[in-house]
């Protein structure tokens, strides 16, 4: 049903995602602070950060090349492109045939790729370290993602997000099938890894030995940093809505009536809050892993994914 409204809605939900992303991260931070008995910054702090960063001048290393200046835009663009593909509010979006889950994954990899290059560009030891570790984590989380996709595709018979959501809504039993649950677990771990959350990386630290993401973008400042940060936050939101809408699709609007969309927005916010709480609690409970323990964590998620596959083979 590629109605013009369809496009407007699709673009609108992308804009919504962009708008909500900082808030979501702010919420997570606030929750974590609360859980750690701190007062914590207000939920809208990230918006302020963005405004500040956009207003500040950019400082670029004398060693940096044009790539250093292009990278933020590539990162932001690829993440936004992903936002067009992920069902946030309504399915099927007219952009659904443009890309499936694989495209989503590899678009995000595109961003990571350029960010890692940008980390190497100024020729500082931190950047190199960050890129190296970031790429390592990214590479190792690929198979898990692929298998999670495989599991979903098995159930839904397609790798396209709209299809998957539609299918799951068609038979709710699928949602509680063990295959789905295991895939969900796997994807959750990947979410932690891909977004540089604890226990893989600590988004709040600048202690070089533990940094991954932060080390990579250490050289960035001003609007460039703003773009990168915003993209990172958007990524979190997108992963959350993937987790929320792929596995628990209820509430996602299938018809573009205002009521349906309103309901969809409400459920989306609810899902986000729940996931935020889960994440906050989780991050508060666990400590950061040594870098060379991270593969073990990813191995766990891989095993989950393999189980998901086998289970869904068995129940097929």
């Amino acid at each position: 049903m590629p109605l013009p409204t369809g496009y407007t809605v699709a673009i609108a939900q992308t804009a919504l995602a962009l708008f909500l992303a900082p808030g979501l991260v702010g919420l997570i931070r606030w929750l974590k602070a609360r859980l750690q008995n701190r007062r914590g910054a207000p939920v809208w702090q990230p918006y302020l950060e963005l405004r500040k960063l956009f207003a500040k001048e950019v400082v670029v290393s004398s060693n940096a090349s044009w790539l250093f200046r292009v990278a933020p835009f590539v990162v932001f663009a690829s993440t936004v492109a992903v936002a067009f593909l992920v069902p946030v509010l309504a399915v099927p979006s007219p952009f659904d045939p443009v890309g499936d889950l694989l495209v989503v994954v590899y678009l995000l990899l595109l961003g990571t790729f350029f960010l890692a290059l940008a980390g190497l560009d100024p020729g500082s030891a931190f950047g190199g370290m960050g890129s190296s570790r970031e790429m390592t984590v990214a590479a190792l989380s690929e198979p898990t993602v692929a298998l999670a996709i495989f599991a979903l595709a098995l159930g839904a018979g397609s790798t396209n997000l709209g299809q998957i959501v539609a299918r799951t809504m068609a038979d709710p039993a699928a949602a509680v099938s063990p295959g789905y649950l295991l895939a969900f677990g796997a994807l959750f771990v990947v979410t932690l890894a891909e977004n540089g959350r604890l226990p893989v990386d600590n988004p709040a630290t600048h202690l070089e030995l533990t940094m991954i993401h932060e080390a990579m973008i250490l050289e960035y400042s001003g609007r460039y940093l703003a773009l990168i940060e915003w993209a990172a936050w958007l990524k979190v939101l997108l992963f959350f809505s993937l987790l929320g809408n792929l596995f628990v699709p209820w509430g996602v609007a299938t018809v573009l009536t205002p009521s349906a969309l309103g309901w969809a927005l409400a459920t989306l916010l609810a899902k986000l809050v729940v996931l935020a709480v889960v994440l906050a609690v989780f991050e508060t409970r666990v400590a950061k892993l040594r870098l060379f323990r991270v593969p073990e964590l990813l191995a766990v998620s891989f095993v989950l994914a393999v189980l998901a596959i086998t289970v869904s083979f068995l129940v097929r």
Binding site: F54, A55, K56, E57, V58, V59, V60, S61, S62, S65, W66, L67, V74, F76, A77, V80, A81, P97, V98, G99, D100, V103, Y106, L107, L109, L110, F113, A116, L117, G119, L120, D121, G123, S124, G128, M129, S131, S132, R133, M135, T136, A138, A139, L140, S141, E142, P143, F150, A153, L154, G157, S158, T159, N160, R223, F292, V306, I309, T310, F313
Partner: protein, 684 residues
């Protein structure tokens, strides 16, 4: 007609090189010949694959009937679609490679004559173009060996370095090894009337017992796999490809090894007409293993060209994953999925030719500028050779399967084929598919990491050596060649709608595959999946355009918004260090260190660190020497033992020539007596 023109073009190029040997005339004419030949090859291929009529080439068949005991067809007439694809690949890379050679070989002036390399380049291209067109055992083997010997001589171009000679020995040795298996495979199919014609072979093969068929297939797989560089037959590849001049490396890595794929398809589909599922399973497994091991060894390489060579192993692995999946689906009578698998394999064949060619040419420009292949001595080249850097970046992104470039699209097709594997009735077999998916995903992820290293350490940061500081941008001809391939990487990605159905038509009819109904094409690419009716679909072109749009829109948006536009250039922040030196950067070794630890089980790394401290205090270090090695499993545990065994036997046999006349005479008489004894036995 065009066919004749192609042959003439290559021969002309070879002749020109032989006649002029040096100077710009030789360089241009040599390249011109190759370019003409390549253009004709592409024309033939495109016409065949996309089904225009440009007339067939009857003439050559008449010409070609001269050599001995040739029965049946000689040269395909017209080219079969499958052959046309590979012919096209040869031509498509021949053109930029030849163009590139104009600038690249200028550095040889005075040092080395163009006679051999130029002539061999053209003959190499000629034989490569004729291999897929051969329609008869003799011709196939003739061109196959011609390809081997010409490329061998090209590898030996820079034989000053001892390792080049070593590489050459390995290369020719493995070629002959493979040839043995190929000959066995062919001649086991020989029909009673002794006709070496492929159609006759196929007809005869239909009458053979399954066991014999399987034997033939395995022999062919070993023979052609050794050319394609499948693990564990890959050992020659990482040493031979880098040793050659870069435009030749591009051809060997981008094109030549693909003919191994052609060979497997020729046997698996055309001559044997498909077989039991385990054929496909074997191919799939070998492919997956090659893909993973290839990239894992690439990660440990700091020699830019060797790194690329290892990635060829990886990509050949991906291609074989597609082909293997296709063969399995074929045996389970899932034609739509089978087509998908083969299409994925062929598509990736073409794409890999483009970006691997591009990358080798880029590496060549770097080598040309810095005179080293060691990444640890590079850095900061993006400022001195910006265009080369850009092109290399495109290639790197393409080989890392990043959308919207071609590498991603073909890998996506392979992925979809594997996902479809869920619908294989036998579950224990179907489970193979997700494993392949996981390995493929890991491989592509690691490839991305590897190329962040390759590009980042080589082009970004600060120059690590004097040569890197003095580097100059490559000559125009080389830039144009690279630009063309970079463009191809983008276009081939966006043009999936045209490519995929065309390739579907190519495999149609082989081993009873249906015409490419499997892949329906609208503005998006729709492929069937396990569940009936369900499809996976992507639209490369919109992705490309969308990204482009965003990349334009976002800066403009920023510009229009109230965001600050100020920009200050300053030193890299270094925790209060005074000055920043190149030595403080991350090195290639350091970059790969985490993965080296994680996969220690495979690498078995051994490192020796030697620190000598400052005489006053152990807290001051004067110098640290760090050296790390990884175990070359296959060389050490597969090849070396065999070689040692042979040498041991040889020593024993040479002892026969003891020098004692009496011993010699005794052999003689002993032989006589034994023969007489045998005769007695035979008589009674």
């Amino acid at each position: 007609m065009i066919f004749l023109l192609m042959v003439a073009g290559y021969l002309f190029g070879a002749l020109a090189a032989l006649l002029f040997a040096r100077g710009w005339v030789a360089r241009w004419l040599t390249a011109a010949g190759a370019i003409i030949g390549g253009a004709c090859a592409v024309t033939l291929a495109v016409a065949e694959v996309f089904g225009f009529d440009i007339g067939s080439f009857q003439i050559i068949v008449v010409l070609a009937r001269r050599p001995w005991w040739l029965q049946g067809g000689v040269i395909q007439d017209p080219a079969q679609p499958l052959s046309a694809v590979f012919l096209g690949v040869v031509g498509a890379i021949a053109i930029p490679a030849a163009l590139y050679s104009i600038g690249y070989t200028r550095a040889w002036e005075g040092r080395r004559s163009l006679r051999m390399p130029g002539a061999m380049l053209n003959l190499f291209l000629l034989s490569m173009s004729l291999v897929p067109l051969a329609e008869n055992i003799l011709w196939f083997v003739l061109f196959w060996e011609g390809m081997a010997v010409t490329s061998y001589l090209l590898v030996m171009t820079e034989a000053e370095e001892p390792e080049t000679v070593h590489a050459g020995n390995w290369y020719l040795g493995m070629t002959q090894f493979g040839l043995g298996f190929i000959l066995a495979a062919f001649f086991l199919l020989l029909p009673p009337d002794g006709s070496g014609d492929f159609t006759a072979l196929a007809k005869h093969a239909a009458t053979l017992s399954p066991g014999l068929k399987s034997l033939v297939f395995v022999l062919a797989l070993i023979g052609f796999g050794s050319k394609a560089g499948l693990v564990p037959l890959h050992v020659w590849l990482p040493s031979a490809h880098p040793a050659a001049p870069s435009h030749v490396s591009a051809l060997m890595s981008g094109v030549m090894i693909k003919l191994g794929v052609y060979g497997v398809l020729l046997f698996g589909l055309r001559l044997l007409g498909g077989g039991p599922a385990w054929w496909g399973g074997l191919v799939l497994t070998l492919g997956a293993v090659s893909a993973l091991l290839g990239v894992l060894y690439a990660l440990m390489e700091h020699d830019l060209k060797r790194l690329l060579a290892y990635h060829s192993i990886e990509n050949i692995g991906i291609i074989f994953i597609g082909v293997g999946a296709g063969m399995m689906f074929l045996s389970y009578d899932l034609p739509a999925l089978a087509v998908l698998g083969f299409v994925g394999g062929l598509y990736h064949t073409i794409n890999h030719a483009c970006f691997k060619g591009l990358l080798f040419l880029g590496a060549g420009s770097v080598l040309h500028a810095t005179h080293t292949r060691n990444m640890e001595e590079m850095g900061g080249l993006i400022k001195r050779m910006p265009r080369t850097a850009l092109f290399f970046l495109v290639g790197a992104a393409a080989i890392s399967a990043l959308p919207p470039l071609n590498g991603f699209v073909s890998e996506w097709v392979v992925f979809q084929a594997l996902l479809g594997g869920a619908s294989i009735p036998q579950r224990e077999v179907a489970v193979l598919m997700p494993i392949a998916v996981a390995m493929l995903a890991l491989a592509s992820g690691l490839a991305a990491a590897c190329f962040v290293k390759a590009f980042g350490i080589t082009f970004l940061g600060i120059a690590r050596s004097h040569e890197a500081e003095q580097a100059r941008e490559a000559p125009v001809s080389m830039q144009v060649a690279m630009a063309a391939l970079a463009l191809a990487c983008v276009v081939l990605g966006a043009a999936a709608y045209a490519m995929v159905p065309a390739l579907g038509r190519v495999v149609a009819g082989l081993a009873g595959l249906p015409p490419a109904s499997a892949v329906t094409v609208s503005w998006s690419l729709r492929v069937p999946l396990s569940a009936p009716g369900a499809v996976g679909q992507i639209s490369p072109l919109p992705i490309l355009l969308g990204l482009a749009l965003l990349l334009v829109a976002i800066p403009i948006g920023l510009w229009l918004s109230r965001a600050s536009r100020a920009l200050r250039v300053s030193d890299t922040w270094g925790c209060g260090r005074i000055a920043q030196t190149p030595r403080m950067q991350y090195t290639a070794a350091a970059f790969a260190e985490p993965l080296r630890r994680i996969f220690a089980a495979l690498y078995r790394p051994t490192e020796d660190v030697s620190i000598d401290f400052h005489p006053e205090s152990r807290y001051f270090v004067q110098s640290i020497a760090y050296r790390a090695h990884i175990i070359p499993w296959f060389e050490r545990y597969l090849y070396d033992p065999v070689i040692d065994r042979v040498i041991a036997w040889a020593a024993r046999v040479r002892a026969i020539q003891s020098g004692s006349l009496h011993a010699y005479l005794t052999y003689l008489v002993a032989a006589l007596v034994i023969m007489l004894g045998l005769l007695m036995l035979w008589g009674s």
